[in-house]
């Protein structure tokens, strides 16, 4: 049934198998998961009534115990004040970049000469964790004009509305550099 097409070669990614000894960081991902779940619960219920809090806490605890194994593989960063500060800084930079890129693309669209030079470039990232690569890729996609097509190993395929540099180093600096600085501080 399954036809193997000769697509681009991907590095083999280990499928999450049965739990073979808890990797380091189990407690950290557990705290991340429980905090995240409880925060989402608070947003959904938008109530501080003691009954809601009890049910939310119990549910977060049960789900964090059940699903911790999946989160362990993501590589969540430790929760330290310095990293939290950098997360806020990253969110601010991302918001500013999104606004700037929106204006830039809008300018290109209404310009009579349509100054675009679309193409696909490859950039490189030093980030190791899956979740860090995901955040970088999604930040690049969120800013109009650049779009992450795929991540292969430590390289990201980017569709760029205005290709200003074709070599990896310059493209990396122009597209990924603004986000990667903060992500590196958060995840290292």
């Amino acid at each position: 049934m399954s036809e193997l097409e000769a697509g681009p070669q991907r590095p083999a990614r280990p499928m999450p198998g049965p739990p073979g000894g808890a990797p380091a960081g189990g407690v950290r991902s557990f705290i991340w998961l429980i905090v995240l779940l409880f925060a989402v619960w608070l947003i959904l219920t938008s109530s501080f009534h003691w009954q809601e809090l009890i049910v939310g806490a119990a549910l977060s605890l049960i789900m964090a115990i059940a699903l911790n194994r999946v989160y362990q593989q993501l590589g969540m960063p430790p929760l330290t004040p310095w990293r939290l500060l950098n997360m806020i800084a990253f969110a601010t930079i991302l918001a500013i970049e999104i606004i700037k890129a929106n204006l830039d693309v809008a300018w290109r669209v209404i310009h009579p000469k349509l100054p675009i030079r679309p193409g696909i470039v490859v950039i490189r990232t030093e980030l190791q964790q899956d979740i860090a690569k995901l955040i970088l890729a999604n930040s690049i996609t969120l800013t109009p004009g650049t779009f992450t097509l795929d991540i292969i190993g430590d390289e990201l395929l980017i569709h760029w509305i205005d290709v200003r540099a074709e070599d990896i180093e310059t493209a990396t600096k122009l597209i990924g550099g603004r986000f990667e600085k903060y992500l590196r501080r958060i995840f290292k």
């Binding site: 049934m1 193997l4 999450p16 995240l36 699903l67 991540i151």
Partner: protein, 229 residues
């Protein structure tokens, strides 16, 4: 002659339909059950969400039937699609992109939590066990799309499903022996209207339905994935 007979038969049928239709008082509420539900639903059942008060308070037995229908449908699908043995894991499947692979693992607990929120608050906000269960199943669907090769743990899935159905029936039987003396009677205190711990057995039943529907639909998706391999 045949034409005449056909016309006669048609006339009889037309007359019958016309007589039936003229007897139905369109636009007039024949029974005032609906107004009773709307006006007294909150006090009778303790559920702020009037639809829930009808579905689980007044017509709980009917809902048990619906759950049974869904169960039979899922079983039928399993019987039709069953290939005998479960096929070995994802051989020859190209893994999904890292973005999808990581994103679905990150989102899975959050979607399940959202589904749980929907069925736990079934008596307070729009939604309920069926909707919450469908949301939970969608989390499993995302896993099948993004993390190919991951499967529902069959023993756990059927355990949760059985537990959900059993809870529903046991709550109904408990009503039989307790204060109400009929199947699925509200034997638990209704509590303060609008709080999470209110509505007697309604939230408990919705949690049972939510778990049951979620595991059932996840099982259906699992069967379909198995078949398309």
């Amino acid at each position: 002659m045949r034409v005449f007979l056909s016309l006669l038969a048609l006339a009889v049928i037309a007359l019958g339909i016309a007589m039936t239709l003229t007897d139905i008082p369109f636009g007039k509420p024949k029974a005032d059950i609906a107004t009773h539900y709307v006006e007294n639903g909150r006090e009778d059942t303790g559920a702020v969400n009037i639809i829930t008060s009808v579905v689980l308070g007044y017509r709980g037995f009917d809902t048990l039937g619906e759950v049974a229908v869904l169960f039979v449908a899922a079983m039928g699908l399993g019987a039709v699609l069953a290939t005998g043995t479960r096929t070995p894991k994802a051989n020859g499947w190209e893994p999904a992109s890292l973005v999808l692979y990581t994103g679905c693992r990150f989102l899975f607990p959050l979607i399940v939590l959202f589904g749980a929120y929907i069925f736990i608050h079934g008596h307070l906000t729009p939604g309920g066990g069926f909707q919450g269960g469908a949301i939970i199943a969608s989390a499993f669907l995302l896993t099948y799309l993004g993390c190919r090769g991951r499967r529902v743990h069959e023993a756990w899935s059927s355990a949760v499903e059985s537990l959900g159905g059993l809870t529903f029936v046991v709550l109904g039987l408990a009503g039989l022996t307790a204060a109400g003396h009929y199947f699925l009677s509200a034997f638990l205190p209704a509590g303060t209207l609008g709080q999470l711990f209110s509505g007697g057995i309604i939230p408990l039943i919705y949690i049972a339905i939510g778990l049951k529907v979620g595991s059932e639909l996840a099982g259906v998706i699992d069967r379909l994935v198995e078949e398309s391999q």
